[in-house]
């Protein structure tokens, strides 16, 4: 365009062809300033823009010299114009120009010489364009670019670019530092290795394809890719990389840019923070503490993990104040709410204890400490607090109180006390038990007045004090047995134990000790000693040794009585030494029982064995022991007693019993023989007797009336003697049968039997038998009972010396026996005969005077006794009358044993 415009020929043609009138119009409206001067620099043409751009006055400058118009025309411009007038075309893209009013503008100018037809330079065509704005904009941009460069060089993030061919471009300072290298002329495939890129773990080398810049170069947008740069000899850096492809406005591929953010410090800080948080959590957990915040404005409550643990809160849970209060024990809830609200308003800090109740219902004690945060207006806006679970402390406190109480009680019960004496101040403090021991009060003033030493018994004082002072020198604990005199004057035996508590310098600072009343123990000791002596004596006298046996080791420990039993002088703990003295059979028995104990079959050892003493004499020993089973040990503890005398006595007794049994059998045989004899003899004797009687009666019959006088009387006597002998034989037979079981014994109506017997007796005239009161039933064979009554009542009447008489019968009874009394008013039996009347064939009068066998009472006695009763004649004060008293069992009394016998 400018070419054709500047062609003079064309210009001429334009002027000539398109009309000269249009050209000025064109020039006038050109957006650039245009002027034409001649070779004298006088203006030929200047368009309005020229005027406007250079701030020229309104009057025309045509015809005026350029030097006039621009007063400060400089040599710079004279030179330039001269060169142009000399035919040179000149151009400057940016020319700084100071206006007349001092404004600086930037101008782009073109100076072109115009020539005449002959080619000589006729003047200059001047074109200028004000480009101040463009220049200033460019300058500002350049300034900005410099800033960006500085920024790129100074920021800590690494920025790197590559072009479409994978050539590295921008590589800022941080990047260089990261890698310890600048941009090298290597392709993307070598970046990972060259620049020491690793994956996030810092260990695994990064694959070339994974390099963020390479990925971006392939068109990918990479965000927050973790990577590690670890050049040899440098600490690894943890980086977060962003990368994106670069595109021209037309979508062309301009390469890619990557930004790497160094997170190493952040990582370290995070790790430290995590550690800190963990420590805090652990501290909270271990310390049973937690913290919390209450933002009063938002009514949000935040709990630390520890606080949640204390309160039993489940997971992350937002809470407001009122919900928080639900974690407080219902009894304390109102109080805690009021307290915190009050604290928010009126307090700066507080300490408060309350009980919490966890959602699972467990109750715990909490100490809450808090500070109130206030705004400028002094309003409480937040409470920051800590919680401490003091359940354990409280429990410990409570149990300590209980322990102290127990200790105090234990001291009193155990007759013990403790005291402490500060050596520098000389002040003592005593426990309650100590005060009770000494019989003083716990009053501090009194305690200050007296010393434990004041109570020492004068006789023991010096010894005790010297023991204590010796301990103060050696630093050892001391122990002393001594007596004290209580405030009430009573003397007690005590045991003192104590020691010195050293100060930091190692010098005794305090004397502390315990006193234990051993008076009772002393008494017990004395008693025990006496007991031990008695035991010694007793075991010696009773010939008993005590021992402890380890059967598996065959080891025995014994007192000195064991060797003594064997007549040995030396003790031995080898069991077999002692067992060897036992007879073989006994050894076997002992070993068998030991084995049974060892195998757990039995727990006791109990037998009697014979053994030889050292002097060869035979003894009998009775070892007895009980197994003591430990974890894996077994011992038997017991005694061994010399039972020789007992065994000998036992053997003698057994022999006697055997003899007795033989004797009893013999007796039984002889009794049976006797009965047989009585039976046979009564029968055999009776036969001839009957013969005699028959013969006598035949003589009487045959002689008839011719028999009289002496022969008749003798014959009568003969027959009466036969009769007496027959009666005696009958009685003898009866006696032999007495007590023999005839009928089954049952409980019988004694009263009925008695009356029956009386009826059968056929009483003599003038005699009365009366039965007084109730007669108890007894257990009897009715026949036996009848024999007894018949004989006793019959005797009473038969032996009565009067014309009339009275026999009275009465009875009493207890649970087992009935007692019968048969009382008569006859002549009585002299006391000397009381026992003899029960003998066989015993009569007190000649038989010619009173015909009697003398067997009646013998039969009665035998019957009563065979039935388990007894009979006596009662001693009477009056001369006449006899009282027979006999007993009879009411129930079956014979044991099976007796039955068999």
């Amino acid at each position: 365009m400018s070419k054709s415009f500047l062609d003079t020929k064309d210009l001429t043609a334009a002027f000539s062809d398109a009309g000269r009138s249009l050209l000025p119009l064109l020039i006038e409206h050109l957006p650039i300033a245009v002027a034409l001067v001649d070779n004298d620099m006088r203006y030929l043409v200047a368009n309005p823009r020229w005027y406007q751009d250079y701030g020229l006055p309104d009057e025309s400058i045509i015809g005026r010299s350029h030097f006039d118009v621009f007063e400060d025309y400089s040599d710079y411009w004279r030179n330039i114009h001269g060169r142009c007038l000399a035919g040179e075309t000149l151009r400057k893209d940016e020319e700084r120009y100071v206006m007349a009013d001092g404004r600086v503008i930037w101008v782009q100018w073109d100076l072109i010489p115009w020539r005449q037809q002959d080619g000589s330079v006729a003047g200059i065509m001047m074109f200028t364009r004000i480009i101040t704005e463009q220049v200033e904009a460019r300058q500002a941009l350049e300034k900005q670019r410099g800033l960006i460069d500085i920024v790129l060089e100074t920021i800590d993030d690494g920025i790197v670019t590559c072009n479409a061919d994978g050539k590295l471009g921008l590589f800022n300072r941080a990047t260089r530092e990261f890698h310890g290298l600048g941009p090298e002329a290597v392709g993307p495939d070598d970046w990972a290795e060259l620049y020491s890129l690793f994956q996030a773990d810092g260990q695994t080398p990064m694959a070339p394809d994974d390099v963020p810049l390479a990925r971006a170069a392939r068109g990918e947008i990479v965000k927050d890719a973790e990577m590690v740069i670890a050049p040899l000899g440098k600490p690894p850096r943890f980086l977060l990389a962003d990368a994106r492809p670069l595109q021209g406005p037309d979508g062309s591929n301009l390469g890619a840019v990557a930004v790497m953010h160094d997170q190493s410090d952040l990582r370290r800080r995070e790790a430290a923070l995590r550690l800190e948080a963990t420590r805090l959590r652990n501290a909270e957990r271990v310390g049973r503490t937690g913290s919390w915040e209450w933002d009063a404005k938002t009514d949000k409550v935040h709990w630390s993990e520890g606080a949640k643990r204390i309160l039993g809160l489940p997971a992350e849970k937002g809470m407001d104040f009122d919900q928080t209060l639900l974690l407080v024990h219902p009894d304390d809830r109102q109080g805690v709410g009021d307290f915190l609200r009050d604290a928010l308003e009126n307090k700066d800090s507080y300490v408060h204890e309350w009980r919490g109740m966890r959602p699972d219902g467990t109750v715990h004690d909490v100490r809450s400490r808090g500070e109130v945060v206030r705004n400028e207006a002094g309003q409480g806006v937040m409470i920051i607090g800590t919680l401490l679970d003091i359940t354990e402390f409280n429990e410990i406190g409570r149990s300590l109180a209980v322990k102290a109480e127990q200790l105090s009680r234990a001291e009193l019960i155990g007759r013990s006390g403790t005291w402490e004496r500060d050596l520098s101040s000389g002040l003592s403090s005593w426990s309650e038990g100590m005060a009770a021991l000494l019989g003083v009060s716990l009053d501090p003033t009194e305690m200050a007045r007296v010393q434990p030493g004041d109570f020492l018994h004068p006789d023991d004082r010096d010894a005790t004090v010297s023991i204590i002072s010796e301990a103060s020198e050696t630093g050892n604990n001391f122990e002393a047995d001594c007596r004290i005199i209580r405030s009430d004057g009573e003397v007690r035996y005590v045991q003192l134990r104590g020691g010195f508590i050293l100060d930091t310098a190692g010098k005794p600072a305090k004397l502390a000790g315990a006193m234990h009343d051993v008076t009772a123990l002393k008494q017990h000791e004395t008693a025990l000693q006496a007991l031990t002596e008695r035991y010694q004596l007793a075991s010696e006298v009773s010939k008993t040794a005590t021992w402890e046996l380890w059967p598996e080791e065959r080891r025995i420990l014994s007192d000195e009585n064991l060797p003594r039993l064997f007549g040995a002088t030396v003790a031995s703990d080898e069991f077999d030494n002692w067992l060897g003295r036992v007879d073989p059979e006994g050894q076997q028995a002992v070993d068998q029982q030991l084995e049974d104990v060892v195998t757990g079959k039995v727990d006791t050892l109990d037998l009697t064995v014979s053994a030889r003493r050292v002097d060869g004499s035979k003894i009998w020993l009775a070892p007895f022991g009980r197994a003591m089973r430990g974890e894996d040990s077994l011992r038997i503890v017991g005694t061994v007693r010399d039972v020789t005398q007992e065994v000998v006595a036992q053997k003698q007794l057994e022999r006697q019993q055997r003899e007795l049994a033989e004797y009893a059998a013999e007796l039984q045989r002889s009794n049976a023989d006797l009965e047989q004899f009585a039976y046979v003899s009564s029968h055999d004797l009776r036969a001839p007797l009957r013969g005699i009687d028959s013969l006598a009666s035949w003589i009487e019959e045959d002689l008839g009336d011719t028999l009289h006088g002496e022969p008749a009387k003798n014959l009568a006597l003969l027959r009466s003697r036969v009769k007496r002998l027959e009666d005696l034989l009958d009685a003898l037979l009866q006696y032999s049968r007495a007590g023999r079981k005839l009928n089954e014994a049952t409980v019988v109506d004694t009263d009925a039997i008695l009356h029956e017997t009386i009826d059968l007796l056929g009483l003599k005239k003038g005699f009365v038998v009366e039965v007084n009161g109730p007669i108890p039933a007894v257990h009897a064979d009715p026949v036996a009972l009848r024999i007894v009554f018949t004989n006793l009542i019959g005797n009473a009447i038969k032996h009565h010396d009067g014309e009339s008489g009275l026999v009275s019968i009465s009875a009493t009874d207890d649970d087992h026996m009935a007692t019968f009394r048969i009382v008569d008013d006859g002549p009585g039996i002299p006391a000397v005969f009381h026992s003899r009347v029960f003998e066989m064939f015993r009569t007190l009068k000649p038989r010619d005077e009173l015909e009697a066998s003398g067997m009646g009472l013998a039969i009665v006695k035998k019957t009563v006794e065979r039935n388990g009763g007894s009979i006596v004649i009662e001693e009477l004060s009056q001369p006449r009358g006899t009282v027979f008293v006999f007993t009879w069992p009411k129930h079956e009394t014979r044991s099976k044993q007796e039955e068999i016998q």
């Binding site: 029968h683 009776r686 009957r690 013969g691 009687d693 028959s694 035949w698």
Partner: protein
């Protein structure tokens, strides 16, 4: 009938036999009375056919050689003699003896106590018995 019943008295006591004879006489009993001193002799007489049938045995218990029970054992075991009518005539009042006698199927057990009177009663009883009671007679 009955007039020809033979009595065999087995007793070792001669006086008892005499008493029996006196009683028979007193009761006008003409029946033959054979006596044997003990069971052995009585058994021999019976087995020898020396005692005519029908007969009644009057048997004592205590006797030498063969006593009354041993004699009873023998005749009760002997088919020829097992139906013999036997009265025990003894001094024994023993219950055991009484029971044992009846176990041997005796016709009666009579205790000789008051010698004279008993024997008289016995004779009277036996007289009535021999007249009223039918006895086995077959050979």
């Amino acid at each position: 009938m009955g007039a020809n019943v033979t009595f065999l008295a087995v007793d070792d006591d001669e006086i008892d036999l005499m008493a029996l004879k006196r009683a028979f006489r007193a009761a006008d009993m003409a029946n033959p009375l054979i006596s044997a001193g003990d069971g052995q002799e009585a058994l021999e007489l019976l087995r020898a056919g020396k005692v005519d049938k029908p007969f009644i045995v009057l048997l004592d218990i205590n006797m030498p050689r063969m006593n009354g029970f041993e004699f009873l054992d023998e005749i009760r075991a002997d088919p020829e003699l097992l139906r013999s009518v036997v009265f025990i005539l003894t001094t024994s009042r023993s219950e055991r003896d009484v029971i044992r006698a009846y176990d041997h199927h005796v016709a009666g057990y009579i205790v000789k106590s008051n010698a004279t009177q008993t024997t008289k009663d016995l004779a009277t009883m036996l007289d009535s018995y021999r007249r009223l009671v039918e006895l086995p007679t077959e050979r």
